[in-house]
């Protein structure tokens, strides 16, 4: 029982899953488009939420958001389910597969045997599509991998019921019904408005532009407050969240720039193309932050690599993005 599924390797797991599921359902969209419509771009720094002693730093929204929001904005009816018992969760998966439905699943990364050792961390926000079963193995379209992979059923059960922060609880999701007509342009603009709102007008100081400034203030004080080795660990953690596989580079800024470019062509709005170019420049600035930060982590900083300089660069990123979002807001109004 194998479903013919249009697997495409993607930069990010959830936008990849969303794009591939929608494409299978008949709405052919790119990963960048799914990411933008689902308003996946975000920044959050929550110093009091710790994972392994390190603060929560994220460049994307909460797991599940991209799919849910993209489906809503496109008028797609989705279904999702969580489970208490692994046996029930497996039955539900098998039932959907038998009906020819490819199923999205949230899993932990740690227990997936096909993951490279370097990425085996207890991270519960991974997404994949189960698109078949052969004997004791599931056939999986994991968007960050080049081709389909196999995973023994017991290991998938484990991954679906991994524990800790954001535990997936076996969460499954799939498309239930597609609309007769879709308005990709309107959905894209709605996605843009949502990102601008959360980045510019957040009521909490941990998110959006305010979150970047908060992080810049804290980052400056890391060496004095935490000592050199802990400060370097915090910095490395931030670089991992920004650049490790699954962001498409520059903390999702490049994938978002790709989305803006596609939307510019779709709607015939050249001003969005200019904003795409500015977003690319913002991504490049984040990358240069990572380059300097990594030199500190490695213990080989150049004279200009200080925490103060990094904080300055972070503030420059924040101000540059503030301008981008306010201009974007005007365009998408």
């Amino acid at each position: 029982m194998n479903i013919d599924f249009p697997h495409r390797q993607s930069a990010h797991c959830e936008s990849g899953v969303t794009a591939n599921l929608l494409t299978h359902g008949g709405i052919k969209i790119s990963e960048a488009m799914a990411f933008g419509i689902g308003s996946g771009l975000f920044f959050g720094y929550v110093p009091f939420l710790k994972m392994g002693g390190l603060p929560l730093i994220t460049f994307r929204g909460a797991p599940g958001c991209i799919f849910r929001k993209a489906a809503r904005r496109l008028g797609v009816e989705m279904a999702q389910e969580k489970f208490r018992r692994p046996e029930r969760a497996r039955e539900a998966l098998d039932r959907l597969l038998a009906a020819g439905v490819p199923v999205g699943a949230q899993t932990g990364a740690y227990w997936l045997p096909y993951f490279p050792a370097a990425l085996r961390f207890h991270f519960n926000g991974h997404n994949l599509v189960v698109c078949g079963r052969e004997g004791g193995d599931y056939i999986i379209s994991d968007p960050v991998f080049p081709g389909l992979v196999r995973c023994p059923a017991e290991d998938l059960d484990r991954a679906r019921f991994s524990k800790g922060a954001l535990a997936p609880k076996g969460r499954l999701y799939h498309l239930r019904r597609l609309p007769d007509q879709i308005d990709l342009g309107a959905a894209a603009l709605a996605g843009i408005r949502d990102v601008c709102r959360i980045m510019l007008k957040t009521p909490v100081p941990f998110a959006g532009i305010r979150g970047m400034h908060l992080l810049a203030r804290k980052l400056e004080r890391w060496p004095a407050k935490l000592g050199d080795s802990q400060a370097a660990l915090h910095l490395g953690h931030m670089i991992r969240m920004q650049e490790e596989i699954g962001t498409g580079g520059g903390g999702f800024r490049f994938i978002y720039a790709a989305f803006l470019q596609e939307t510019a062509a779709l709607l015939g709005r050249p001003e969005l193309q200019l904003l795409s170019e500015r977003m690319t420049a913002a991504g490049d600035r984040w990358r240069s932050f990572a380059v300097g930060g990594a030199r500190i982590c490695k213990g080989r900083p150049l004279p200009e690599d200080t925490y103060e300089a990094l904080a300055r660069r972070l503030r420059a990123c924040a101000e540059e993005e503030r301008q981008i979002y306010s201009d974007l807001q005007e365009v998408a109004r």
Binding site: A117, I239, R240, I245, G249, F254, Q261, D284
Partner: protein
Amino acid sequence: MRKTEVPQDACLLEGQQEVCYAVDENGRYVLAPSSGWEPANIANIQAWELIREQVAAVFAAVREGRKSPLAYHMARHQMDPALLGSYVGLPRWRVRRHLRPAVFTKLKPALLERYAVLLKISVAELCTVPERPEIVVPRIDE
């Protein structure tokens, strides 16, 4: 990032490539494969070095009889008592007690079995530690 600048540094992903978004010579965004990027690799290896140090410290404590072998197996799987407890269905304080050698040696076989199944090892392995700490740290393929 331009397509020609997509980094092709050392790979940590066992030869597998990831994809990045980059701008081609006509200014169009394309998906470009990347084998790896050094700053990201440095941050990843730093995280693994920390895990390795933590496992080594716990391993030494087990060898000296200050902690039970469970502490080593827990650290090897990057877990803390709360996470391990949620996997085996025990509160954190009970897992913490089981890290004491005197308590661990008196555990009932059924409980040992639960730990062993979760950690994918036999009960005999659970009650000992190997010759040296076993932890798979990613290696760099040049």
